[in-house]
Symmetry: C2
Subunit: 306 residues, 2 copies
């Protein structure tokens, strides 16, 4: 194989109770990338559509992730990338992760899969690092593994795939304001109370048990965040109203997608997810904000060739 | 039914990464209790063997738990209790929980099961409250539900039953020193770092996923506690040595049982659990400490009539 076209899913990180450890991949929202193996060593980005992003390899998250893989491989090949961005950078649904995970997945396919998915996550994190100063993995892990993923530990990196209940759908609304991941990390306190910690790990345990049991009510009850949401939601216009309306429309739970500003909801069934979408949309239609809304199943595969 | 004899399992709370939310019930260690329905209202404790504990209903954890149930029931009956303690009070394997959960379970059976297990947990917590000043539920929940239990939330009380991997065995060693639950709570800090919190909920998620997947290695990797163990283990003689030796003997993980001083290990297979028992024992045999060791499967039923 000399060339591959890849669907690179958007991802929701944190998922309310899983700050820095949980993520999921979306089925219906993602970038496309064309990666070509060449005889010229190195990585060249030949084309980017959809967004104004740097073509220089070292300044582009996909370029940096690709170089990280190349450095560890014994390959004499080089690679050319075409990136077709559909996920808006800064939206909070893993735009940089889609690019950095997409390129390493594609390169690994073209090289005959010399690397494990866990190794691919390590390469992709290098791209994440230039995007947000933190090599977090809660978007690249679900982008590469698909479904829900838990990062049990960062050092050593330990990723656990979790099951996807079949009727689960996500709704994401993206108010088009800028919140930089690096800024939204800065406003978090370095300490939390033990009391809130106990609530958080109780909910995280409940969410994971709910995924295994396909217990949608338990999933809903567990989608609570007493630690990050109270602080970060202040940066997101109308967060509380959107949450209230989405729940009234039947959402199991509502929270901040990654570091925001997108807001996600999980629902049982596509119809409910669409009702939730309408309810969320209605809130922003009464403002001057630009926004985008997505309704999507959960991608159980993550990256795929198309 | 006028009379019931009950096996009341010992329990391990916290289980390293699940402070205040996780617990499990033991199959081979527990009290026995005989509960008799009488025409005389109220609760009388007629006999206690094995330990010197108060016979006055209001001063005994079983008495208090039983009164809590009686208060909510419309029953005109009274109850007589015989308690045969096999679990040492203050051992850290749920001695008070076995008594308070045992009596409410037995009374509920004799009354024709008017209450749910969740309601029984609420009654039993009243007994826990007089034992340790905190109405915690991480021992009474597994004693009543069996297996592993997660307390997702205390308010409202939300208990999730988790599966028991068939080859999992526990080893518990009890150094006979006194550590009061109320004291061992006092030494905990009210705040934790967000960084440690993230590690904790990552591990809790890993442990729960490991139970569902029957992935013993994942269970082992997840049995880490960066928050409570570093503080409380200082109160337990030779904790670090016991942990090192137990792991060298094949334990998946080792931690403090409840608020201590007992130390538990989880192992794959009974033979390994027995090797772990020998390794733990050897450490204390070199000291002047009195101790007890137990090897036990995990009880999937919890309370049972015998």
């Amino acid at each position: 194989m000399e060339k591959i076209k890849v669907f690179c899913p958007a991802t929701i990180a944190n998922i309310s109770c899983g700050f820095d450890v949980l993520g999921l991949a979306l089925e219906a929202v993602g970038d496309e990338m064309v990666v070509k193996k060449t005889q010229t060593p190195g990585i060249r980005i030949t084309k980017i559509t959809g967004q104004d992003l740097p073509l220089e390899t070292e300044k582009n998250v996909a370029g940096v992730a690709g170089l990280a893989l190349l450095e560890k491989s014994n390959s004499a090949f080089g690679f050319e990338l075409e990136i077709h961005k559909k996920i808006k950078p800064g939206s909070g649904i893993g735009s940089s992760a889609a690019s950095s995970a997409g390129v390493v997945w594609a390169m690994n396919e073209l090289l005959g899969q010399p690397f494990s998915k866990l190794e691919l996550v390590e390469f992709a994190r290098q791209g994440e690092k230039i995007a947000s100063n933190v090599a977090h993995a809660d978007n690249v892990a679900p982008a590469l593994f698909g479904g829900f993923t838990l990062i049990r530990s960062y050092s050593p990196l330990d990723i656990v795939s979790l099951p996807v209940p079949p009727e689960l759908y996500a709704t994401v609304i993206h108010p088009q304001i800028e919140v930089k991941t690096s800024d939204s990390r800065k406003i978090l306190r370095a300490d939390i109370t033990l009391e809130k910690g106990i609530k958080q790990w109780g909910n995280l345990g409940g969410l994971i048990a709910g995924l295994f049991k396909e217990d949608y009510d338990l999933i809903g009850r567990s989608l609570e965040d007493h630690i990050v949401e109270p602080v970060r939601s202040l940066l997101i216009p109308m967060f509380d109203t959107i949450k209230t309306e989405a729940k009234a429309a039947g959402a199991l739970g509502v929270g901040i997608s990654g570091s925001g500003p997108s807001i996600f909801a999980l629902s049982r069934g596509k119809e409910t997810a669409e009702n939730v979408s309408n309810a969320m949309e209605k809130v922003y239609l009464n403002t001057t904000l630009d926004f985008e809304v997505h309704v999507s199943g959960i991608s159980s595969t993550g990256m795929k060739s198309i």
